[in-house]
């Protein structure tokens, strides 16, 4: 790939995930300063701050780019703030990438952080009868795990998946995450323990559904020319970013909707939404699933990680359980998935999460993932999906 389409990752940083209960700005500043130190770049050299927003922390969260820029000390750098549900971090990356590739930015900081309430994510307050996110809680009691449960049960019906298969995803990711100092949960679990945890959304148990966490993640990005001029070694690049929307009619029931689109009169698109997210990044990077060394995917639930194996093309439809059982997606296997420990070990800090996926990919490609290192990793993909037609995928290469 020519340097005209790729950008360099100079540095990565995180604030550990947990339930710290402090101001989200603090986590973002820690992550940003860690990324700057990792990059060997001064804060005053950053000419663009691309923030990923949080909607649960008031006005400072809605303008996260400016909030972090001010917290680090206003320098006159340009700013952008993105909200795209779970894909917020990837949209911030996409903003920075576009400006770097256009020659409008030389060194950009991408940063996202969140402080989350205990328990289920709830909609924004008020009496908002025209907001589907408010209405689904009010009329149905449908939480996010409701949708995860529907997908999981559907998977069981279509492919004969078992509760043990789903629990095995958690066992794998807990093993990976146990070695990650930034993970919130760092304890190995057994299938029996997972299945003994309380049922939340049949057939999914508490340990199979990602928690809500506090955390922060940051990247320092630049043009490849800048990275080469500054002797960055090894050179890790972002070769493609996908932030596509669904194509009508989307026949999967998506959060926070009451219904699918109608398949009665309009022809179906060639790919499902999740498939289209990763297809766009493969096409942009000019590679395929056979070229991957690893993947970080959005395991909002254990069962959803299996859906992603198929949507990424790691195996055929209905073959994900077999791929999991073969050990291929465990570190040491052919195509490790969620070597970071995934959402199962982190819990979700929404605006930081898509950035954290890229952080893990960069650490793996640089062979700095102590205790969970994948051998000879050179191509990594991330994938996620969130509410209201948002999803993202990022392709990272060494």
């Amino acid at each position: 790939m020519t340097d005209a389409k790729r950008i360099a990752v100079l540095g990565v940083g995180m604030h550990p995930w947990g339930k710290w209960g402090r101001n989200f700005v603090e986590y973002g500043v820690v992550a940003a300063r860690a990324a700057l130190a990792d990059a060997g770049v001064e804060w005053t050299q950053v000419d663009l701050v691309a923030g990923a927003d949080t909607i649960r922390n008031g006005y400072p969260g809605f303008i996260a780019g400016a909030t972090f820029a001010q917290a680090l000390g206003f320098t006159g750098a340009r700013v952008s703030s993105s909200y795209a549900a779970c894909a917020s971090g990837a949209q911030a990356i996409a903003n920075a990438r576009a400006q770097i590739l256009a020659g409008l930015s030389e060194v950009a900081l991408v940063v996202g952080a969140d402080t989350t309430p205990k328990g289920f994510f709830a909609p924004v307050g008020g009496n908002r009868t025209d907001d589907p996110d408010w209405l689904r809680f009010h009329l149905l009691g449908a939480t996010n795990p409701t949708y995860f449960g529907l997908y999981a049960r559907r998977r069981m019906e279509r492919f004969g998946s078992t509760s043990e298969d789903f629990a095995q995803v958690k066992v794998k990711n807990a093993r990976h995450g146990a070695a990650n100092p930034n993970a919130r949960y760092r304890k190995e679990v057994t299938i029996e323990e997972v299945l003994a945890s309380p049922m939340v959304a049949d057939p999914l148990h508490l340990q199979e559904i990602c928690a809500t966490s506090d955390g922060g993640a940051a990247l320092i990005l630049s043009s490849v020319a800048f990275a080469k001029a500054h002797g960055i070694q090894p050179l890790v690049t972002i070769d493609a970013v996908s932030t596509v929307t669904p194509v009508y009619p989307n026949t999967t029931i998506e959060m926070p909707n009451f219904a699918t689109d109608s398949s009665a009169t309009v022809a179906l698109p060639p790919r499902s939404f999740r498939e289209s997210i990763t297809a766009a990044v493969y096409e942009e990077a000019g590679i395929g699933p056979e070229d991957l060394s690893m993947a970080e995917v959005y395991d909002l639930s254990t069962a959803l990680e299996l859906d992603w194996y198929e949507d990424l093309g790691l195996c055929g439809e209905g073959e994900a359980e077999q791929l999991l059982r073969s050990g291929a997606t465990t570190i040491g296997g052919r195509i490790p998935v969620n070597p970071s420990g995934g959402l199962g070990s982190f819990g979700e800090a929404i605006p930081a999460q898509a950035i954290a996926q890229v952080v893990e990919a960069v650490l793996q490609l640089r062979e700095q993932a102590t205790g969970r290192q994948i051998a000879n990793a050179n191509v990594a993909i991330t994938a996620n999906q969130g509410l209201f037609g948002h999803g993202s995928s990022v392709l990272i290469r060494r």
């Binding site: 009329l139 049949d202 009451f258 398949s263 009665a264 009169t265 309009v266």
Partner: protein, 142 residues
């Protein structure tokens, strides 16, 4: 059934039917009913007929709300877990969500089971019962 709809325009409590829309241009359906521009990007119509949707359909998938959902859900006291069903309406090409009636838990459901829409009480406040649509198994096919 006494009471008023918990939300206007989603269903007809008397007819026990969901209310969707059908685009006057391309004929595509939507639930809840669409207003304004058709969701089909290749259709420029801005008018939709409000239509009652099929009262019966088959279970596409189902799950349980085993933990009490947060507000604005109005829970029973004490909270009683319930099932949520995704039902496929063949004629409209839609999969729609609804609670199962209180007596039907997730363990009694299966994919492909035939269900029908009924009007039921969502919660009761100072103004009386608030009504919502729910799904119940079609007895004859059980």
């Amino acid at each position: 059934m006494n009471g008023t709809a918990a939300v206007e325009g989603f269903f007809d409590p008397e007819a026990q039917a969901l209310l969707g829309s059908r685009c006057t241009g391309c004929g595509t359906y939507a639930f809840p009913a669409k207003q304004g521009l058709c969701p089909n990007p290749r259709c420029q119509s801005e008018t939709h007929d409000v239509v009652p949707l099929s009262r019966r359909g088959k279970v596409w998938s189902y799950t349980s709300a085993s933990y009490q959902p947060p507000p604005p859900y109005v829970p029973t006291d004490p909270f009683v877990p319930f099932a949520i069903v995704a039902v496929e309406l063949e004629a409209e090409g839609l999969v729609v969500l609804g609670q199962a009636i209180a007596s039907v838990g997730a363990e009694e459901l299966s994919v492909g089971m035939e269900m029908e829409v009924v009007t039921d009480v969502l919660f009761t406040d100072d103004d009386g019962p608030k009504l919502v649509w729910k799904f119940q198994p079609v007895e004859a096919t059980r």
